[in-house]
Symmetry: C2
Subunit: 601 residues, 2 copies
Amino acid sequence: MADKFISERNLKFLINEVFDAPSLLQFPRYSHHTPEVFDMVIDTAMKMGRDLLKPSFEEMDKNPPRFEAGAVKVHPSVKRLMKECGEGGWISAVASLEVGGQQLPFTVGLIPTFVFSAANYSASNYPGLNMGAAHLIESFGSQEQKDTYIPLLFSGAWQGTMALTEPQAGSSVGDITTTASPTDKDYYLIRGQKIFISAADHDCVDNVVNLMLARIEGAPPGLKGISLFIVPKKRFDNDGNLVPNDLAILGIYHKMGYRGCPITQLSLGDNGDCRGWLVGEPNRGLYYMLQMMNEARLVVGMNAAAIASAAYYACLQYTRERPQGRPITSKDPSAPQIPIIEHADIKRMLLFQRAVIEGSLGLLFQCTVYSDLMLAHEGDEREKYSLLLDLLTPVAKTYPAEMAIHSVSQALQCLGGYGYCDEFPIEQHYRDTRIHPIHEGTTGIQALTLLGRNVVMKNGKALTLFLDEVEGAIKKAGARPELAAHAAQLKKAVEKLKEVIGHLVGIATGGNIDLFLADATLFMEFFGVIAVAWQWLLQALAAQSALAKGASPSDEDFYTGKMYAFRYFFAYELPKTEGMAQRLLTIDDLTLSMKPDYFSD
Amino acid sequence: MADKFISERNLKFLINEVFDAPSLLQFPRYSHHTPEVFDMVIDTAMKMGRDLLKPSFEEMDKNPPRFEAGAVKVHPSVKRLMKECGEGGWISAVASLEVGGQQLPFTVGLIPTFVFSAANYSASNYPGLNMGAAHLIESFGSQEQKDTYIPLLFSGAWQGTMALTEPQAGSSVGDITTTASPTDKDYYLIRGQKIFISAADHDCVDNVVNLMLARIEGAPPGLKGISLFIVPKKRFDNDGNLVPNDLAILGIYHKMGYRGCPITQLSLGDNGDCRGWLVGEPNRGLYYMLQMMNEARLVVGMNAAAIASAAYYACLQYTRERPQGRPITSKDPSAPQIPIIEHADIKRMLLFQRAVIEGSLGLLFQCTVYSDLMLAHEGDEREKYSLLLDLLTPVAKTYPAEMAIHSVSQALQCLGGYGYCDEFPIEQHYRDTRIHPIHEGTTGIQALTLLGRNVVMKNGKALTLFLDEVEGAIKKAGARPELAAHAAQLKKAVEKLKEVIGHLVGIATGGNIDLFLADATLFMEFFGVIAVAWQWLLQALAAQSALAKGASPSDEDFYTGKMYAFRYFFAYELPKTEGMAQRLLTIDDLTLSMKPDYFSD
């Protein structure tokens, strides 16, 4: 079946030609690496994706985790995966040297996540969760916590998790009720329930470390009273042996997709002896978790783009091999059929997929570059990159998450009835990718963050920085005859964006916060298209430069294809902002004044 | 779990208040019925949907058909369903009195299809296929064929199918190679393979009648050499016993959704003794089949709207019952949480679903009304309704098919993580509804039919008739102060539609047919939004009239909700045509000049 699931060529184009990742080596933080290391990361990740993750892609879907006798059994390939990700240093790739990591730039260190999740999304989550859990401990844990847990997470011997959600507290994290009672020892006693926790139990690791939000007895209500704890499934006794930590698995959820990874329901402290160790200071848990969540959001964006990429290449292969129909103007029904990739409508669907996938990747790498530059700088520069990263993170999660659904759907459509059947992989991608607008903060939550917080924070400072970046690219492209029209088109959209923001902020300053935020999701969609158009302009600049320099025939095909995908985005996607702006610029409280009773019939 | 899956109130609103179905009783063709019969059809269909189909909705998905020892076993509830649909006269509802049908208007007779497919889409297909197969025999079969097969299809004792697709001939029907060799008897010998045939074998009927396309030996190549045959699984021998007809089931496909109905692969005439009986004249098969396909396309539109309806009501119930979060401006984290239906973003997603579902239903009933009026008239009037029906059928299939995907996806989103799990029904609806842009002609095929054939046929006569209808509604609405602004908005969109068509036809008359049709799918989307906006205007006119007359409190809620959904469509959906028109009005051969080689990386 389909062998290719990502374009290595495109990854290297983005990293080297668009974002010049090797220039990061000038900073002391990354200067122990070389450009060769970057290439090696890509090459080795490709090999692991192909050999270790992809072979179990369908199997893990068809044989999902089982819950038996209070424990979860997962596909046996997870054991080898965790081991190899540990031994190969994949889990510790971006962690600091200080805790035994390799301190790779995020821009390079996130590539394996992309490759692995394109090869097998469910499988990629197991090591991915360890990266997040370890980073949280690295950032906020005590030295003892670092020494105890990080090596076990890096080696893949233990599984890390993020445990936030409770039955009554999903999007509304402030409503968690899991409690932590202080003791006269170094631990708290935890009591409560958690649901929808990925990989919180399975038989391919020795233990699980849950990074869990709970409320210390007497803490203030809401978001300000949440603390972060390490709550392992088994804890060490005085002799250093692992003993149960009074954490029961109540069950797993049966999901439409993402079936290779168990989502569990936990009960904590049924016997009054579930111990949790406070990370950092009391009541700072949400602040800590948000740092991890922001990384996790970029990872979700990567996952979504990765699944869309895998679906695209499976689709591409099919469209090359499937003969059906003839050119529209052909009159001879006995002429041989042509491969469907020759049909304009199929090429349109393929270009749409590329426009989404490669545009998403651009935005994601832009965020990782900001993250890398932030860590490489101090002072004002650090703040600048931090603000840009903050502003764009919800967009870089949401655009890929939402658009991957449409991208995979178009891949499926190209296969017709076969796309709907499980002998081809695309129906699984279609099911898998639907989780992304839900987890790590729904699209609605991301949209409220973008409009209600990020756009207006510090008097719009992040927004101004973003507009500077976009306008810089427009200026560059405007100076090149072959891109000037596109630059002008984006400039017009950016003016519209400013107008929309002015209009909305006017509503907010007028005091109507409900109306200001009522169309936050539409605003997110609008903003996302413009941000991705900017990324496409950057990619077009790089591709044009390469073409101008002269390229090998295969490279010329690559750059020319890139230009077509860029043109597609500006011809079919960017114009969508017109209709959105029309709505966003009205004052109409339709969704606010609609009463629940009116929905009855 | 969710009990409600459709709105009976809304069905009656559409039938009686928008389309005045009782006025059809003035025509001799329908004068043997009464308005009470129409209401009874709705009420009884609701009861059957609830009691007979809905209980096995999840079960049929979880226990899909099995292929064992060359035969297909399906869920046992299908047996009772076929029997009751036969005894209750549901299969014969719209068939003519002459063949034992009830000759109901299609507008009423299609309601059970809507109700049944909302209750259990897979199950609804079994009797639905019989309606189509019987109608084909009624229209084009010999008296003997009518006498032999129709009663067995109407009673549900036998299963009917449509057998078109072959491994090398999906969208390109003209490439079928199944052959029919004449004999000196009344039958032909059939040899070939068919794939993706719904319900072509199962254990809940005594026999299967395939309405099959094949090519008589020596027939012209392509579409002009296709004939229609009745190819039963078992045939009658001279003593009137059923004996095998040399038709082998090779297997069934495993699908992402629509799992309750088997899709089979057939081999015909492996032993040289598969007999087929020609329906009508040789080489007219495609013409016959297209009549049935056009009905089937409306049924697919209904199915898609029905699935979206079921998802909507499951979602609505959840949003009423699920407490999460607080009003955006609430500062008190210890205040009780509110049901999520109170949040503007949730109301937006609910309104979107209603805008799609009720708008789709409007367009579908508009088509059935045209069909009913066509059959009730002769001469010019008949031609008028026939042209309108022809023009709109691909739109009435495609808009619901494509938009139901988004509608169900938004329903799923409202449930967050729960929507992704199979303890709620929405993930199944999400999987089920994805088939609709594929079967009965893909969206790409529908779009080529709309733009390449229907818009331009008879010098644009159908289009002119359609524009007259739309402009009539705009005029009516324009005269009512509360709708005048919306009327003006639609008028502007219609002007844009004319401009786009003028532009495209100009390209065609200039001789560039490839470019004329390159964006047919986008044109379909554009046309669909405008057609549905027209339908919403008709519904708003009816709702405003009812509100003006004064309504009971519950009716007032209904009409007010209707007005909100109407306003939603005009505020959020209709503006999307702006960006589409922008693209459609350019001359840019992007998808034509893109070469397959440029896709390599």
